[in-house]
Amino acid sequence: MVTNKKIINDPRQVTSEMVDGLLLAYDGRVRKLDGFLALVKTTIPEGKVALLIGGGSGHEPLFHGFIGTNMADGAACGQVFAAPAPDIIHAAAKAVHRGKGVLFLYGNYAGDNMNFDMAVELAEEDGIDVRTVRVRDDVAAAPPDRLADRRGIAGDVYMIKIAGGAAAECKALDEVERIARKAEANVRSMAVAVSAGSIPETGKLTFELAADEIEIGMGAHGEAGVRREKLMTADTVTQRVVAELLADLPFSAGDEVALLINNLGATTMMEMLIVNRSVRAILAQAGIKVHRTDVGTYLTVQEMAGFSITLMRLDEELKHYLDLPAESIGYSRM
């Protein structure tokens, strides 16, 4: 089995050392809870609806890098690729709660669902009103009639952005939940990979892909995609991915969308921008208007090389929350 080079210390300490480093990078805007791998905003106003996100580590800057202004109030961190335990989520929920309830927002994976659900039971025992929205944007994971089987990938970024904005402005948890659900119903993503990432503690690649192969529909932990094919040009692979996205929602002429192109870890910005160029040509031809573009590194899978494309269909309300200025380690835009 191939092992990859990583610049780390003790492989068993990568998550806690990462969290320490992230905390320092927040320059005091975020604090760590004693005894838990959980980060929360230093200042959360009384009476604010709280947004708590979380998931396995190893995808930085997702999730714990998205705490900040008009973004999340806190994040529960699991070990690499493993959902956080219920006691971590519960502690974080208590720490961000300001009397108006907490929205749990995370990717739809069996482990996250179970652990967050256990935390809901614990938080409800404390009298905290908790709602749950699971992100299910990966169209490669299951056909449209099995939405519940779809995983959350880079659509998380726009979901956190919109829910974070709504939680900052809306007075009621009901309203924040409604807006998050609307956003979730309108977001679609798909990833492609040309090489694998590895879990630091095992040092092993999570799958193997030949030097001349590309996997279309790759999951965020190396879950198998829909097709494995010979490497193709940026224009060709982008055409394939965008066609799947457009057909799925479906998006149609006249729609306005937000477009996010995410680097899975080891792809160059040059390649990402070439992909962006291809996406725009296809969308223009389909009569779809791009309201906002983000090209960058938001959800990584360690050193996996590849990218994902996310499209979110926008109405005036979603545009409003998406366009609010945001500041965090992983996503900032004025």
Binding site: A82, A110, T206
Partner: protein
């Protein structure tokens, strides 16, 4: 082999220590099995959980807290350690197995075959509910459910014999996962490509039950 063996709280703690050590010895087996159909973190997840379980069992101070000197508290210590330290789906599922099982034998002073049958049934029910799975989906349930049935059928007999049957049934269940297509968890997206591989969680069930069997065979 002593056919009338039953286990008091101290013996259950010792049995669970040997379970933890057995799983810890086999972390690489679990990692490799999970790399074949998952993301390869089952071994390290179980290592975190069972290391914490060992620590937690060692910290049970029965002089200081006599209420912890129970069969239930021993299983519960393992379950809570796994939930808090393994994380992920495996933490939730294996932790629930031990915690839901422990809850069902709150009144048991000495663990016998009938008590263990109750433990496995309640643990299995907890796992099915938490995981939203049924047998046949290529999960740890496919080793756990046959073990639970085997122990219930032998619930009036000796514990060591029941554990022998449980470990055998789990092993048969594990082998059966080789011919199942994963329909839940991260392996789900492999579809037909998951055929030919056993489920890593089912291996862990076999490790747990065979360590229990060996512990009881030696006393």
């Amino acid at each position: 082999m002593n056919n009338s063996v039953t286990l008091d709280a101290l013996a259950v703690r010792n049995m669970l220590r040997s379970v933890a050590k057995h799983v810890l010895k086999n972390v690489d087996v679990l990692t490799d099995a999970d790399l074949a159909i998952g993301d390869g973190d089952h071994g390290i997840g179980m290592r975190r959980g069972f290391e914490a379980a060992l620590d937690s069992l060692d910290k049970i101070d029965t002089a200081e807290s006599p209420e912890l000197n129970t069969v239930k508290a021993a299983f519960e210590a393992v379950g809570s350690s796994i939930i808090s330290h393994t994380g992920g789906a495996a933490g939730a599922v294996f932790g629930t197995l031990f915690r839901a099982g422990a809850k069902s034998i709150a009144d048991v002073d000495r663990l016998d075959a009938a008590g263990f049958a109750t433990f496995l049934e309640a643990g299995l029910a907890g796992v099915l509910k938490r995981g939203g799975v049924v047998p046949g989906q290529k999960t740890m349930v496919d080793a756990l459910a046959p073990a639970s049935i085997a122990v219930r059928e032998h619930a009036n007999g000796a514990l060591n014999r029941a554990l022998l049957l449980a470990a055998d049934a789990a092993l048969v269940g594990l082998e059966a996962t080789r011919n199942m297509v994963a329909t839940t968890g991260k392996a789900r997206s492999l579809g037909q490509r998951s055929l030919g591989h056993v489920d890593p969680g089912a291996i862990t069930i076999v490790l747990i039950l065979s360590a229990m069997r060996d512990y009881c065979a030696e006393i």
